[in-house]
């Protein structure tokens, strides 16, 4: 619950950064913050009170195979959000990396990192 709220707050903070900061790098950081917030939200979604990680080790079950599965069902948190968050992280990383590459190239072609200097096309 608290993680969820934190996540949502991070998202809004990230949005704030994206909307107000003028420096390209900071905007990208803002985006990264949004991403992180979303990841937190995802993790929080999967949480079930008092349960452990969805890995069947001795703490969950000493059985093997199907039997272990039967026992584990009541003791672990949701594995799906964990899987999703993994993907989300990677994608966020990829987008951030590409944004940074853009920023570098923009700095080269436009000699500036200020987003206000890149509004030649309009209307």
């Amino acid at each position: 619950m608290i993680i969820l709220i934190h996540g949502l707050m991070l998202i809004i903070i990230g949005i704030w950064a994206m909307l107000t900061r003028k420096n390209l790098i900071r905007i990208i950081i803002g985006f990264a913050i949004v991403d992180t917030g979303i990841n937190l939200v995802l993790v929080a979604i999967g949480y079930i009170k008092g349960k452990t990680a969805p890995i069947i080790n001795d703490a969950v079950s000493t059985a093997q195979g199907a039997a272990a599965g039967m026992q584990a069902v009541d003791k672990v948190v949701d594995p799906v959000p964990s899987a999703l968050v993994l993907t989300a992280i990677v994608i966020g990383l990829a987008v951030t990396a590409l944004m940074l590459a853009y920023a570098i190239r923009m700095h080269k072609t436009g000699r500036s990192l200020n987003i206000d200097d890149f509004e030649e096309q309009k209307w």
Binding site: I11, I15, M18, L19, T20, K22, L24, I27, F31, V34, D35, I38, V41, L42, I45, V80, P81, L84, T87, A88, I91, A94, V95, L98, M99, Y102, A103, R105, M106, T109, G110, I115, D116, F118, E119, E120, Q121, K122, W123
Partner: protein, 1050 residues
């Protein structure tokens, strides 16, 4: 069944392999690239060929050996197969278009393009929401990276803005998915759909975020500044991909998600789509940059498709017909937009005006024309049918606001697209030829075009089952395109032969009633005038295909059986006439005005057709038109549509301009034949709505006055023209006003007079126009005051014009008097005394312009510059001779025309007993009015009273002394420069002093203001696109929030 995973594997393997083998040779990697693309096309087509399209679930494939909710499912049904075929073919073409570029760029670009296609394919295939997210990201990231293909500052900036917006959309999407999973416990779309809609607000918000993410990716107005920048600055090949492949995949994903949404979301999305459509088109009005303009057009089209997918769900419409509409719009945009982007890349011109370079390259110009016309929604392109169906759905369900927005938006779209076409055909000497034409780019362009046409024909014949006869105009067009290289006269005779044969086969003896009358007017009238075109020495490329298409579509108006056939033919006619006008040297603006008014008219006609009861199949419309009784609303829509075509007062703005600027020979056809299509339409409407109109009375009364005012103001405006064609144009308008007046009476006599005048107008106006064509050809000017004394040089033309003006003015003994007599008597008989008075005034005014016409051109003092002018070419004389003979014939024997008209009309309004023919004497003995007219006797008497003095004069005056033109008594001296005494310019100055105040161009001013205001609004709106990436982000947030609040999603 073809496993969709092969598609994914092909792209992935290709993308992973390419950088590896590139170390050896670029040719290998390119080889793999094209192999992968070809394989993807093959796979999707193979799936399309399979006949086992059954239920959706059966065409699903799972992964990892587990069933649906557990593993990720891919759907590969009919819809997917079709869309994927298009997408992958486009991928191949785009790859081809970019061939040179890819050979130079670093190898990653090849992988990126393959992965972009992977993303699109995956997005279309997947049935899992999170998987959709992954593919969406693949698609987006590949696109972001490919925008870097052009490394200008602007492209970079645009790409960055795109990334910000895209990133934001992904964030919304991901948050939405997270919470949706929280509420539903599934990520599989089908399982999810089966669960139904939950009522919890949180769940709704999650759904809202998901769908808005996709909507934002679809670039809705006004949250689409970033997309426009991308379209403007990205490499044309990439822009084409974005506007076709990306949009296609996203739209399909959007469509997949729709069943998840609560019903209340639909109007919201529909509204958003429609707003995007309308406003994108509006803002585009002011756009001068070609790429950006295409961007606006793309977003508009996408908006429209969103509207179709969401807005029609409430109506009683099957899912497949909704999809059919969306598909029609999509496919047209798909090929046309990519073609336009590619063209932009080929000619490398930024502003739309500078596209005039195309005028030097007929192939590219033709392609450009096809794309523009397809986008505008002309037949036979799928967008035409889609719009027809869309209007049918909207009007049929009374969605008037949506319908107006749709039609207004379409019109705005037509404005900028066709204006662009106008720029392109404008010959500009400074333009250099396009020299570099890379073969691969050209191949992509050509292949795309061919594909579009094939798809169009497939849809036309397979889906809408149009009879082949309805396609004759198009076939004739294509056939004449092929033989366009032949010399002018050969083509002319082939055209005459073909049309005559066609008329003989399909019309002769097969038409009944008014059909046969209009058959003579529409087919016969144009047939004779084809001769007029044959005097040209040069080849006049493109003229005959269009002309023949026009004539065929005019004829087909009589063959059309269903509403769709009628409208299709109507649009063929509009299209070909527009292109013919556009052939005029300075006709760009006039043609634009013409087509805009015509399109507005067509939209009204379409709406009216939707509202009217369906026509009988297999029987031409006109035949049973009195069996189909429509209500007033339909009649009003249709009526206004046809009145626009007729150029009635208020909507006549297009008429003088386009008549003047079109090629002279074609103006003749426009005035004499083409306008009769409007007459035909109006008459049909009056027949179909007879009961309702007669019961109401107010509308026909108004129509009558409209006709009278049209007649009056047309005549008055003609008086003050210096341009001979403009004078005749206004004269035509005036004459059509009489026809409207006659029809509005809704009486037997009234309709007879309207039809009689329609015939006469064909003969005398074609006669005059043909003669004047010769004059303009020989003198090289249209200004009457620059001519004079041509009677000596062009006596035959003079005789034609003389006969013509006698007929127009209604002076006995020629047939023109008949039309006056009919119109006055019918008006008085019906008690429309003041309309009759106004009509009388108008026809008196006609004398002014007619005298001016013949005097300033043929009489008075000859100009020295024209002393070597010769008689018009024989080809122009032939139709004149025919028409003179016809006029003399029907003047002498009016029964040959009055009787058939009366009997045709009596099929709809019974001939009253008091109207009778005894010999050539037409007697009117109604209780309220008696009168008679014996055309034959009048002719005899006139010949007598003319012959006797003539003989006398010849006897008395045998030794006449012929003097030179300048030998006149002018204040007792011979003027030094006699031609300066030619009384021509501003001939009716006194009349202008007295009545000039009546023709202050109030209506023109009104339309100009409309244009001005629209453009101002467009300009103001366009300022929301500040170019700042953060502002665009702000737009997106506000967009999402505003719809959230308005829609009360929470």
């Amino acid at each position: 069944m073809v496993n969709p995973l092969y598609l994914i594997a092909v792209f992935l393997a290709g993308a992973f392999l390419v950088p590896f083998v590139d170390k050896a040779d670029r040719r290998i990697s390119l080889g793999i690239f094209y192999l992968a693309l070809a394989a993807s096309v093959g796979l999707s087509l193979a799936r399309l060929m399979q006949a086992d399209f059954t239920a959706m679930t059966e065409s699903q494939v799972f992964t990892a050996g587990f069933g649906a909710p557990l593993s990720i499912a891919l759907g590969f049904g009919f819809k997917e197969a079709i869309l994927l075929s298009f997408v992958n073919i486009m991928g191949l073409l785009a790859g081809l278009y970019l061939a040179k570029r890819l050979a130079r760029e670093s190898v990653q670009s090849i992988s990126l393009l393959l992965l972009l296609l992977l993303g699109a394919n995956g997005l279309i295939l997947t049935r899992d929401i999170f998987n959709g997210f992954v593919f969406l990201e693949i698609l987006s990231i590949a696109t972001y990276a490919l925008i870097g293909l052009k490394s200008s500052k602007n492209a970079m900036a645009a790409g960055f803005k795109y990334m910000l917006a895209g990133g934001l959309a992904s964030s919304f999407f991901l948050i939405g998915i997270a919470f949706a999973y929280r509420y539903t416990g599934t990520l599989n779309i089908d399982t999810w759909i089966n669960m139904g809609v939950l009522m919890s607000p949180g769940y709704r918000i999650a759904l809202y975020l998901i769908i808005m993410a996709i909507v934002i990716e679809l670039k809705p107005f006004p949250a689409n500044g970033w997309a426009l920048d991308v379209y403007q600055s990205a490499h044309s090949g990439i822009a084409a991909v974005i506007s076709t492949i990306n949009t296609g995949a996203l739209l399909f994903f959007f469509y997949k998600l729709l069943p998840l949404l609560p019903a209340e979301f639909m109007p919201l999305l529909a509204g958003a789509g429609l707003i995007s459509f309308f406003f994108s088109n509006l803002v585009a009005l002011r756009q001068k940059n070609a790429g950006r303009l295409l961007g606006y057009s793309s977003t508009a089209q996408t908006g429209l498709i969103i509207f179709v997918l969401t807005g029609l769900s409430g109506f009683n419409l099957s899912q497949s017909s909704i999809l059919m509409i969306a598909a029609g719009l999509f496919v047209t945009n798909f090929f046309a937009k990519s073609g336009l982007f590619w063209l932009a890349g080929l000619i490398k011109k930024e502003t739309t005006k500078s596209w005039s370079v195309l005028s030097k390259n007929s192939l590219l110009l033709a392609l450009f024309g096809i794309f523009i016309l397809a986008l505008t929604g002309f037949p036979p392109f799928p967008s035409f049918f889609a719009k027809v169906e869309l209007v049918r759905a909207l009007a049929g369900n009374g969605a008037w606001v949506s319908l107006s927005a749709l039609l207004a938006g379409s019109l705005l779209e037509a404005v900028y697209l066709l204006r662009w076409l106008g720029f392109a055909v404008k010959k500009n000497e400074e333009d250099a030829l396009i020299e570099t034409m890379p073969i691969p780019k050209l191949v992509s362009l050509m292949f795309g075009t061919v594909l579009m046409i094939l798809v169009s024909l497939l849809i036309t014949t397979k889906v809408y089952h149009l009879s082949s006869g309805m396609m004759y105009p198009l076939m004739a067009f294509l056939a004449f395109m092929i033989i366009d290289f032949l010399p002018m006269k050969t083509k002319g005779f082939i055209a005459i032969g073909l049309i005559a044969y066609w008329g003989w086969m399909f019309f002769w003896g097969k038409l009944l009633g008014i059909g046969s009358l209009f058959g003579i007017i529409l087919i016969g009238g144009s047939l004779v005038q084809i001769f007029g075109f044959m005097h040209y020495k040069d080849n006049k490329a493109g003229l005959f295909p269009l002309l023949v298409m026009l004539i065929f579509s005019l004829g087909n108006l009589l063959q059309a059986c269903t509403k769709l056939e009628f409208f299709l033919t109507w649009e063929f006619m509009t299209l070909s006439s527009y292109l013919l006008i556009l052939r005029g040297k300075h006709a760009q603006k006039a043609a634009l005005t013409y087509i805009l008014f015509s399109l507005s008219g067509a939209y009204l006609i379409l709406t009216g057709l939707v509202l009217s009861p369906s026509f009988y199949h297999k029987i031409p419309v006109y035949l049973l038109s009195d069996m189909i009784q429509m209500g007033l609303p339909a009649a009003i829509f249709l009526g206004i549509g046809f009145l626009i075509k007729l150029g009635a007062l208020g909507v006549h703005i297009w008429l003088p301009e386009s008549y003047t600027e079109a090629e002279d020979e074609f103006t003749s056809i426009m005035s004499s034949v083409l306008s009769k299509a409007g007459v035909f339409g109006l008459l049909i409407v009056l027949i179909m709505a007879k009961d309702a109109l007669v019961a109401n009375g107010l509308i026909t009364g108004a129509l009558g006055w409209l006709g009278a005012l049209t007649a009056f103001f047309g005549a008055l405006m003609a008086v003050f023209q210096e341009d001979v064609k403009k004078l005749l144009a206004y004269s035509s308008m005036s004459q059509l006003g009489y026809i409207i007046m006659g029809f509005a009476l809704m009486s037997h006599l009234g309709w007879v007079s309207g039809l009689y005048l329609a015939f006469n107008h064909l003969f005398f106006k074609a006669l005059i126009f043909m003669a004047i064509t010769g004059v303009i050809l020989r003198t090289g000017t249209r200004n009457m005051y620059e001519m004079g004394g041509l009677i000596k040089k062009m006596p035959i033309s003079f005789i034609s014009v003389l006969m013509g003006i006698i007929a127009v003015s209604g002076v006995p003994p020629l047939s023109g008097f008949g039309s006056k007599w009919f119109i006055y008597t019918s008006l008085i008989e019906q008690g429309h005394y003041f309309q009759a008075g106004l009509a009388f005034f108008a026809s008196a005014i006609a004398f002014l312009y007619l005298y001016r016409l013949i005097h300033t051109v043929f009489l008075g003092q000859a100009k020295p510059a024209q002393k070597d002018v010769k008689e018009a070419p024989i080809w122009l004389i032939i139709p004149q001779a025919v028409f003179i003979m016809v006029i003399m014939g029907i003047s002498m024997f009016p029964n040959y025309i009055t009787k058939p008209i009366s009997s045709a009309v009596s099929g709809f309004i019974t001939k009253p007993d008091w109207l009778s023919w005894t010999g050539y004497n037409i007697t009117l003995a109604s209780p309220v009015l008696h009168g008679n007219w014996n055309g034959n006797l009048v002719m005899m008497v006139t010949m007598g009273v003319f012959g006797i003095p003539l003989v006398w004069l010849l006897l008395v005056n045998a030794r006449v002394q012929k003097v030179k033109q300048f030998n006149i008594v002018f204040a007792a001296e011979r003027p030094d420069k006699p031609w300066t005494t030619h009384f021509a310019h501003n001939m009716f100055a006194h009349y202008k002093k007295a009545l000039g105040w009546l023709i202050t161009p109030k209506i023109t001013e009104f339309w100009n203001n409309v244009t001005e205001w629209t453009h101002s609004i467009a300009a103001t709106l366009s300022y929301i696109y500040t170019g700042n990436g953060q502002t665009y982000l702000l737009h997106i947030f506000m967009y999402v929030l505003v719809i959230f609040i308005i829609g009360g999603v929470r």
